[in-house]
């Protein structure tokens, strides 16, 4: 046994982060300070959906969403409160922000200045990856070309003015959440990075040296699933491919700049609502995949909370995830060794195979014109939908084992969830009201003329092709709000609706269960006189469309006609679509936690339009108490992540339509 004293020198651990933020800047600041006190070493800011999509808290589309999935930041005073007593000079802050990245970074820079810190000293990351927003996460605002411009301007600004900032965090994370296989994760994230680097390289002010520095500042944000050996090989393969792209495509020679730098949040997709305590183990194993191999070790790690599939995690739940990291880094001997897998034929063989396949898939995307084209023609989206459909089929059929879900379902009740509603965090319902009041107060106390002049200047600079950052920082200082800044860009660039990618999904081989439901759909359609028609809708600002897409594809596969218009629709638009399309049933999907407000709104508007007879079913991360409330409001069925059997859901939808049309 080796004594403490004789222990070899240990590597410095990765950075510990927890993706967090909720309710208000004040509440989130308290949470951050308590997390840092517990040994967290970096911050990861979650913004609410209005902030991410460029709306002030009092905009009609913000209703029900303020402070739900993150913190609302409307102006510089909000940002200042968020980092109160947290010296930005010493902090490393990751901001999950994309369409409005330039704005939130501007607020951050302006806040640092108020703290007396120069922008040149700031360290951190803006996610700033729009391609994956089109593909998976859904908080895009502007069309692809404008988005590429914004991203590349942030890159070219920070590389000179905020040199330790990671201006773009290319996310393969959300691709895996959308169903991507490891090969797709590698290929599409590389295609994505290339699409930005090509734009940056073409900028007149960017010379070879700048390009090399830019290449070195592009970081990645990866996912790590439960197949942790393959995930480790995936990370190794990405290292190799990134270096290859740097050398061959961009002529980078500086070894330091060629190194792939990435952070990880482990998989949320595989976390289960059934026997949720099993997730504690899943999360720990997934963390191993991205830390075990020194060569493929993550620079920073965020672990989700074990009860994510149930609702918002409490501080205690997040603490458990932090402790998992600390045990791995400080108690185990992981950091005492060099790479454990160098020379392993198995690992090298698997890595080479992934690399080869990924290179081919990357070439396919580049051949069709690159990532932007592959978004616009829905190629990548279709591939992801296909993979996700296959994954769900494998779970339904039992080909893929998920303990507690499709195997070993027999279990005693978990004492961890005995408290019911008490075992998740409830966002204070007054948060939205308070935020709107504080926004109004801010608007009243700012100098309106300054704000207006800053907006005018912003518009002029954008129209004249200037860099977005300087006028945005000036606007932040002048008291411009998130909604106002975004509106200027909306007016100049226009708004975008991305392809949903579901249309071309191949029809799955019908299992016996599927054939059974298909027969029922046929019979009911005969009775109804026309084919059973369903509207799949995503009300509100939540852009996580994977669930809605899978429901849409499954409904098609069982023989329904499916209307799916994509994300970010107001309840009024959904009701109008239901009327125009003459649907028999409406299925709504909401993952942002604003289900009560938005679903009730749809149900009320249906009644007001004389369509109260059209049944509504809802899916989402919906706690039991809320489900009861929704059912009282007239919702016919509520589905949560434990309802993984989509065929059974379809069967029940047939029941619901049959009941509604009986007699």
């Amino acid at each position: 046994m080796s004594s403490i004293e004789s222990r070899p020198e240990r590597d410095r651990p990765w950075m510990f982060r927890t993706y967090s933020g909720h309710s208000s800047a004040k509440a989130s600041n308290a949470l951050y300070r308590s997390n840092l006190a517990k040994g967290q070493t970096g911050l990861s800011v979650a913004f609410d959906l209005p902030t991410q999509t460029g709306y002030d808290s009092d905009h009609p589309l913000s209703r029900g969403e303020v402070g739900k999935v993150g913190v609302p930041i409307c102006h510089i005073d909000d940002m200042q409160v968020l980092f109160d007593e947290i010296p930005l000079e010493k902090m490393n802050t990751s901001m999950t922000i994309n369409a409005t990245a330039a704005w939130l970074l501007s607020l951050y820079i302006a806040t640092a200045e108020r703290q007396g810190t120069d922008q040149g000293a700031l360290r951190g990351t803006t996610q700033n990856d729009i391609i994956k927003e089109y593909l998976s996460r859904g908080t895009f605002v502007f069309p692809p070309e404008a988005s590429m411009r914004l991203t590349s301007e942030i890159v070219s600004y920070t590389v000179d003015h905020v040199p330790n900032w990671n201006p773009m965090n290319v996310c393969s994370y959300h691709l895996q959440e959308a169903g991507a296989t490891p090969v797709q994760e590698i290929a599409y994230s590389m295609a994505n990075a290339i699409s930005i680097l090509d734009v940056v390289r073409a900028m007149p002010e960017v010379d070879d040296d700048t390009l090399s520095r830019v290449f070195g500042r592009i970081s990645f944000f990866l996912n790590a699933g439960i197949r942790f050996v393959e995930e480790m090989c995936k990370c190794r393969a990405m290292n190799l491919l990134w270096e290859e792209i740097g050398r061959e495509r961009y002529g980078i020679t500086n070894e330091k700049m060629l190194r792939l730098r990435y952070g990880v949040q482990v998989n949320s997709l595989g976390l289960t609502e059934a026997q949720p305590e099993n997730n504690i183990i899943r999360i720990a194993l997934e963390a191993l995949g991205v830390t075990l191999s020194k060569k493929a070790r993550t620079r920073s790690l965020q672990l989700p909370a074990w009860n994510e599939a149930l609702g918002l995690p409490r501080p205690w739940d997040q603490q458990l995830s932090l402790r998992t990291q600390q045990i791995l880094a400080y108690e185990t001997d992981l950091l005492e060794y060099g790479d454990l897998f160098d020379g392993s034929h198995v690992v090298e063989g698997k890595t080479a195979a992934l690399l080869e396949e990924a290179r081919n898939e990357l070439q396919t995307v580049l051949d069709m014109g690159g990532a932007v084209t592959a978004v616009e023609n829905a190629y990548m989206k279709q591939k992801l939908v296909e993979s996700q459909t296959e994954r769900l089929r494998a779970i339904e059929s039992g080909d893929m084992t998920v303990v507690g879900v499709n195997a070993y379902e027999e279990a005693v009740d978990s004492p961890l969830v005995e408290e019911g509603a008490g075992s998740i965090l409830k966002v204070d319902e007054s948060a939205e009201r308070d935020q709107i009041a504080s926004l109004e107060a801010f608007r009243n106390r700012r100098n309106t003329a300054d704000a207006e002049a800053a907006l005018k200047n912003l518009e002029d600079v954008i129209k004249n092709g200037g860099n977005i950052m300087a006028p945005s920082i000036a606007a932040a200082k002048a008291g411009v709000t998130t909604g106002e800044w975004s509106q200027v860009l909306r007016d100049v660039f226009g708004e975008y609706r991305a392809p949903t990618g579901v249309v071309a999904a191949p029809v799955a081989e019908a299992s016996e269960d599927v054939s059974q439901v298909r027969k029922r759909v046929d019979e009911l359609s005969e009775t109804l006189g026309r084919r059973l028609k369903i509207l799949v809708g995503k009300p509100g600002l939540d852009g996580h469309s994977n669930g809605a897409e899978q429901i849409a594809v499954k409904a098609r596969d069982v023989g329904m006609e499916v209307v799916y218009d994509g994300i970010r629709l107001t309840p009024q638009e959904i009701v109008q679509s239901a009327q125009d399309e003459g649907v028999h049933v409406i299925g709504l999907s909401i993952l942002s936690g604003s289900h009560c407000v938005l679903v009730t709104d749809v149900v009320d508007q249906l009644k007001a339009a004389g369509m109260g007879a059209i049944p509504v079913v809802v899916g989402g991360i919906i706690p039991d108490d809320d489900a009861e409330q929704l059912e009282t409001a007239g919702v016919r069925r509520v589905y949560t992540p434990k309802d993984f059997d989509l065929t059974r859901i379809m069967d029940e939808i047939v029941d619901v339509v049959a009941e509604s049309n009986a007699g």
Binding site: N377, G494, E495, R497, P499, T500, G501, V502, V503, A505, V507, A510, R518, V521, D522, S525, G529, R530, R531, A552, V553, A555, R556, D557, V558, G559, M560, E561, V562, V563, Y564, D565, G566, E573, Q576, S577, Q579, D580, E581, G582, A609, G610
Partner: protein, 348 residues
Amino acid sequence: MPAEPPGAPTDSPAAGNRAALEAARKLAERVCAGERAAISQALNAVDDNRESHRETRLALLDAVAPHARGVRIGVTGAPGAGKSTLLDALVSGLRARGRSVGVLAVDPSSQRTGGALLGDRMRLSSTARDAGVFLRSLAARDQLGGLSEVTGPSLDVMAAALDYVFVETVGVGQSEAQVIDVVDTLVFVAQPAAGDLIQFMKAGILEWPDVFFVNKSDLGDVATRAAAELRAGLDLGHRRDPDRVPPVLRGSARDDLGIDGLIDALDEHTAYLAGKGDDGARRQEGRVARVEHALSARYGRFGLDQLRGGSLASRVRDAGAVSVERIVYDLGREIEAALRAGGSTGGA
């Protein structure tokens, strides 16, 4: 072979049926008044294929047929040509002119299962999703690559309520030949990539459109060349209307360029048809073609040959201002009767 002839007892409508007919006529009135809920309800009724519902459906269509004054426009072109974007821009442009607009999107994919995913092609921007725009999507169902059978009657309903009704199809050849039977004006969206146009010329698709729009004009020379090629091709090739050379316009739907000119060209074509003094010959041709298509699908060429009393065109004209579906039904009964009597001419 024809299906079993329907039983005779439905010939005299019962009292309940009369009430249903009255309801259908009332519904038609509300459609003509542009009431949104009524348009939707009427489209559902048109789509309702229950035998017990037949008289209601026909009564509704007969009642809207004489009022279907809206201009019907087909938008066609190869996948990727920018049809959806153009449609979006057209809808916004027409809304800015205060016109009401309907869009009927026909999903071309046909599944064994009968299921279909609709709506993805109707990615209309928020400005185009206002209260003056009515959107309905239809599955092509058993008509692989073509138009659903209810496309025609659905357009009839929408044209009775709205100023302009668009139907969007994918340019695969077969659907163009069918869409011309149900629209007044056919717009072809071309993308300026060489090769495409040659394919279309070969397929004979270019003889049908009334207006050409070369999209993505921001591509510069390629777009100019494509427009020139098209004009040359039109001069050489067959044209549906020998008296009129269809205009070839250029623009960019994405950047909202050339849309006003396109709307003007659509209106010009409408005025041209009205000014021809041929008593709506094009719509009449379309009605005849729809009747022929439906009857031959149901009874075959042999069945069609059973009809007496002049050409099919004259039979359709003689039927007056009733719906196409009524004519199909009535003539179908005649064919069935003739077939029951043993069939006369032709035959193998």
